[in-house]
């Protein structure tokens, strides 16, 4: 991760917006230091610099994924639903799993 010291805490934010309901839902994971290498690998395997693709169809989800170190966002990507596959999908799934239950859940 650019500029991230290995011992520094970081957080990953996933925001899902759109869909026919237009509801936003977000998940935030702040990995424990002992799990940081695994998360760093997940983050670094994502193509952060890939060009965005225009949305196709309608009412698909739109995703915003950010990695924060302190108050600074060191990575930010906006993805169409179709782009959330491969490493992005792994990252999103792990963040959703690690996020505290109840963030947007009934």
């Amino acid at each position: 991760m650019p500029g991230a010291d290995s011992d520094e805490r970081f957080a990953i934010l996933v925001v899902r917006s759109g869909g026919i309901a237009g509801l936003s839902k977000q998940w935030r994971a702040e990995p424990d230091p002992d799990r940081a290498p695994h998360w760093r690998e997940l983050v670094e395997s994502c193509p952060w610099d890939a060009p965005p693709t225009p949305p196709s169809g309608a009412d698909r989800y739109q995703w915003r994924i950010e990695v924060h170190r302190g108050d600074t966002a060191v990575h930010r990507a906006r993805l169409s639903d179709a782009q959330v596959e491969g490493p992005w999908r792994s990252l999103v799934d792990e963040v959703r799993q690690a996020a505290s239950p109840g963030s947007g859940a009934r």
Partner: protein, 352 residues
């Protein structure tokens, strides 16, 4: 023309381009357009109705519905489970989708003499049981896809005819040339689908404008959710107010326009503004909303002159032009269209 995978309007645009980088594509498009197409048989059915003392029998086009089941995976199209003329499957999502597509098809035919999504009798394709606890329904460019909901917030997206017609409406908008799914043009795309969703439901129920709920997605929230629907065209911002979901964020006037980068620039939020304009028009004119208000919006979409990047003001101007063509400059309809846009703070003169 028999529909191919590339829509005719796109072929026309490609064929007429003089961009040297697209010379080969333009030549191919011209060749494709010039090819004779075999006539495709159109499904027809006999419809009986009573007009005064007379029994009227007419042959009208019929839909060609194909419902598939994704089996709670995200693989499309899934397994085909009910096709046209087949009996009910016993699976409520399958049968609701089938019936909902049929009611939406009937609405488009009766109101606008439109034969399905492509206006040429093409199949209406839908997939149900998409994903695991999937809280969404969408149009993927070729089919309508419905999740089952998670059971806590949503209890299934095929329960609402306005949702099914909303998705089919996206197909109609795309086939008509499309509205870019971003910012104001995206909000217009969304609003048109809500208009078609509400009108299909009103047509199915035989409701007049002043009798209708003007709700989109009534019946898809779980009982615990404090809300009656996804959106209200009559009173944007009032459809739900829930501890978990928060409050319906839709504005109903330009002064409350929401600037955001999420949701493709707030396409499901700012659609409240043109939604309310349509409601104001429909209730000012009275009667069945699809007969005049709906026709003006439909003609605006399908005239072939609407830019895919139209903003609210450009769309308002286009609706005025469509109403003028249909009813005349001094008509009640034109005055009502102008008043409707003024009522939501959209100035059709802006940017002209």
């Amino acid at each position: 023309m028999t529909p191919g995978i590339v829509p005719p309007f796109l072929l026309d645009r490609l064929a007429s381009t003089d961009d040297p980088r697209l010379a080969r594509a333009a030549a191919a498009a011209r060749k494709t357009l010039a090819m004779p197409r075999p006539p495709r048989p159109t499904r027809r059915r006999l419809r009986l109705s009573i007009d005064g003392d007379a029994l009227v029998a007419e042959a009208v086009p019929a839909p060609d519905r194909v419902i598939s089941d994704a089996g709670n995976t995200e693989n499309l199209p899934g397994r085909r489970v009910r096709s046209e003329d087949e009996p009910a499957s016993g699976d409520s999502a399958v049968d609701e989708a089938y019936e909902g597509l049929g009611a939406t098809y009937d609405f488009f035919w009766d109101a606008f003499a439109r034969d399905g999504i492509d206006a040429a009798g093409g199949s209406l394709l839908a997939t149900v049981h998409f994903g695991d606890d999937y809280d969404n329904a969408f149009w993927n460019g070729e089919r309508m896809v419905f999740g089952d909901g998670d059971g806590d917030v949503f209890v299934g997206f095929t329960r609402s005819l306005s949702v099914i017609a909303h998705e089919l409406g996206h197909g109609v908008t795309e086939a008509a040339g499309g509205l870019e799914y971003q910012g104001q043009s995206g909000a217009l795309n969304e609003s048109l689908s809500d208009v078609f969703g509400a009108l299909a439901e009103q047509h199915h129920r035989g409701e007049r404008a002043d009798e209708a709920s003007w709700l989109i997605g009534a019946g898809i929230f779980a009982a615990a959710v404090q809300g009656e629907a996804l959106r209200s065209m009559k009173a944007p911002g009032t459809a739900y107010d829930d501890d978990v979901l928060g409050k319906d964020p839709q504005p109903g006037h330009m002064r409350d326009y929401v600037e955001t980068d999420d949701d493709n620039g707030g396409v499901h939020i700012n659609s409240g503004i043109p939604n309310r304009a349509f409601f104001l028009l429909a209730t000012a004119l009275g009667g069945f909303a699809w007969e005049r208000a709906g026709l003006i919006w439909y003609r605006t979409l399908t005239a072939g002159t609407l830019s895919p990047t139209a903003d609210f003001a450009a769309f308002a101007r286009a609706t005025l032009a469509a109403a003028t063509t249909e009813y005349g400059e001094e008509s009640e309809e034109v005055a009502a269209v102008r008043a409707a846009w003024a009522g939501v703070g959209v100035e059709e003169d802006a940017g002209s």
